[in-house]
Symmetry: C2
Subunit: 190 residues, 2 copies
């Protein structure tokens, strides 16, 4: 039987609840505060759906419903023992086994020919510039975090995406250069 919950936002929720009980809105705020907005797609609708699904499977449980001042009620959740176990097992699996992900860029590259050589090279060079900016942003975020004395492990995924972006940038530049130089020949039927 495949895993019952696939949305990775559930992973974020579990991770947070392992620290301490929280209500959904607080989860979203905490994730954003920690720069996790680019790791997880934090959409209110998805978040509440996910929390509900986790509760249904008993990976988390509502622990109290508080009302502070006259603000709307908030349901605070905590992880269960089952949730803690599933979290680690899921994590382990996600790291061990690469899964197919169909990124949009790959789809586009597969029809690169349709742009014609000049436009394709232009587009790749522009992408390279955008990637360079993002890499700068990642470096800044990393330096800032290390500066505040936080352990590297807290931003390890940023190190990874930085590495991945660098590789993509290199490929984009090299491929653009190959197109410009003519060493990547362009067939007629495009």
């Amino acid at each position: 039987m495949p895993r019952k919950i696939r949305n990775t936002l559930a992973l974020a929720v579990l991770g947070l609840l392992l620290e301490r009980p929280m209500h959904p809105y607080e989860m979203a705020a905490t994730l954003r505060e920690r720069h996790k907005g680019s790791t997880f797609k934090i959409n209110p609708g998805s978040l509440y759906d996910t929390v509900e699904a986790l509760a249904k499977h008993r990976w988390i449980e509502p622990v109290e419903t508080v009302r502070e001042g006259n603000r709307p009620e908030r349901t605070v959740y905590a992880h269960t023992e089952l949730g803690r176990q599933e979290f680690v097992a899921w994590l382990d699996e996600l790291v061990r086994e690469p899964v197919a992900e169909y990124p949009k860029f790959v789809a586009a590259v597969s029809y690169l020919g349709a742009l014609g050589p000049d436009r394709a090279a232009d587009a790749l060079e522009e992408r390279a510039r955008h990637l360079a900016e993002r890499i700068d942003g990642a470096d800044t975020a990393l330096a800032e975090t290390v500066g505040k004395g936080a352990p590297r492990l807290f931003m390890i995924e940023v190190e990874f995406v930085r590495h991945a972006w660098q590789a993509e940038l290199d490929w984009a530049r090299d491929t653009a250069a190959e197109i410009r130089s003519g060493s990547l020949p362009w067939p007629e039927n495009f």
Copy 2:
């Protein structure tokens, strides 16, 4: 106004119809034949939905409904001029502008700490082995295609994913080594 159709399968459909008219089932078969099954997620349900959406927006049009022998009716579609234009514009945009994609591995890495150092290093090393296999597979596919005299451009996206996998593999091995050597310190609270 954002793009009306986001599913990249629509890109594949348009790309095929620019070659010649086809019916949906034939599109799926053709894509699989060309090893595009790892670039596009070809699911029958999604495919028929996508074709319908494309027709609704007049990017493609039904050109005939044939019945061969006693087989069920098949609706053959062709691209429209609007479809051809949108295809190229969309392609251009997808190549130029990196978009956030939230891959599962990044999500998992962001909680790598929860695995503990030994298990994390194990998991990363296993991933590296899986990636090495995939890279071999990509090399085989590339060699085969070039051997058949097909232009490199037809498999350019395979060159890209091969490059991306290699970068991921390098990172996984390096990070595992850093964990093993203790140069990536592990905080207590995990």
